[in-house]
Subunit: 275 residues, 2 copies
Amino acid sequence: MADRRTVFFISDRTGITAEMLGNSLLSQFEDFEFLRETVPFVDSAAKVQAVIRQVNETAVRDGRQPIVFSSVVDEAASEMIRRDVHALTLDLFQIFIAPLEAELGSKSSHTAGRSHGIANSNDYFARMDAINFTQTHDDGAATRDLAKAQVILVGVSRCGKTPTSLYLALQFGVRAANFPLTPDDFADHKLPASILPHRARLFGLTIHPDRLHRIREERRPASKYAAIENCRHEVREAEELMHRERIPMLDTSAKSIEEIATTILHRAELARHIY
Amino acid sequence: MADRRTVFFISDRTGITAEMLGNSLLSQFEDFEFLRETVPFVDSAAKVQAVIRQVNETAVRDGRQPIVFSSVVDEAASEMIRRDVHALTLDLFQIFIAPLEAELGSKSSHTAGRSHGIANSNDYFARMDAINFTQTHDDGAATRDLAKAQVILVGVSRCGKTPTSLYLALQFGVRAANFPLTPDDFADHKLPASILPHRARLFGLTIHPDRLHRIREERRPASKYAAIENCRHEVREAEELMHRERIPMLDTSAKSIEEIATTILHRAELARHIY
């Protein structure tokens, strides 16, 4: 049986950064099972006391100290947590503030809520604009404004176009359209007419037929659409079409949405509107 | 004029974690202007050498050393970067590995690509399922499967329902539907019939009329829809309706999508399907 440990992600903001870095670190210890608890918005003395109590009760219950990933920006709160919890506390934020202050020759403002705030309204509108655009241009739904797309993802049904487009819009503010390649296009041996004028901004996604088969089976079990022979045929035809048309191509089979989106962002040199 | 510094985010994976933590740290230094450069997928000796060269050329060009946020998992690559760049290097990953190894009494595997990989296929399907559901149930588009929604966001047009739903699906794997409250509903003084059976899972978003006006003006300038009087009227009616129906409510005006989504996740105690 795997060794079990309780892990807390504590933040005076959303906790998303602490979760991301913490999980990335924990994934390096494969023989353990981690029970995760995120405690966000710890932004008052009462909440600091409450989370310290919660961690310490867990230590007693577990019979061993929990692991705490803290990204608390407020210096006093962060110190109190480090001092009073019975846990291995890894402070993801404070530890880097001192060297940054020294390098920049400037004191930090120690204020929570800046990075995911909406201080910068241009960012907000760029993000909304990208999300609207991407929603409207999902799966070939609209073709009118394709000239405004920064990138148009193409590929067979269920190869990852929609989640990748949404991630590009949400995370990077990129206006990403997507367009399916279907058996009709393969029969014609050419790209759909509506995306032809935008060939320079096409980016192809492909996928291993076995994986496509599994994904389609989840959606329409025992259908022709999901059959392995059909998946093999569609993938082969799509890859040939993209190859012939010199469309850059990425295999999504072993990749997460984050990896696919980041790869496209860099390979297609898309301008991001959010940092 | 603001003091300008070049910042690199270097990773052997997507760089998203390094960007998030790095930007959160940088946001504490308001008097500086940071030029950001992300270098992801630094996963070979050649790429390590290339990024070291890039940083050092920047140091010469800028006449001062850049700041490097590194989240490189590979120990040798990470050491080489720390040793050879002329920069303030903040290693977001390695610094925490040693205390974790000591606490767990176990060596880490030092392998890149675990946290955003697709090792866990259940996670992948849960995420896809949530994204599909959320896309299908955006803006009241489908009402058939609302019983399967974990949460149904309600509010006036442009108060943040769509981006919040998408973020809940992408980041947490939550099946989030959303449904608009319109002037028709206000005239009827009751909730739309199709969401009435799901009242326990409704969550209201509201917004300051001034902000709503600005957002709607971006979309339909000088329309009745965007007029400040109309925004005031719709927001007042929507808030009254939600109050009367005892629907929990969150003001999105000064919040980012991350903050809105995280608040709902915790306040509505939604089960997340991705960590």
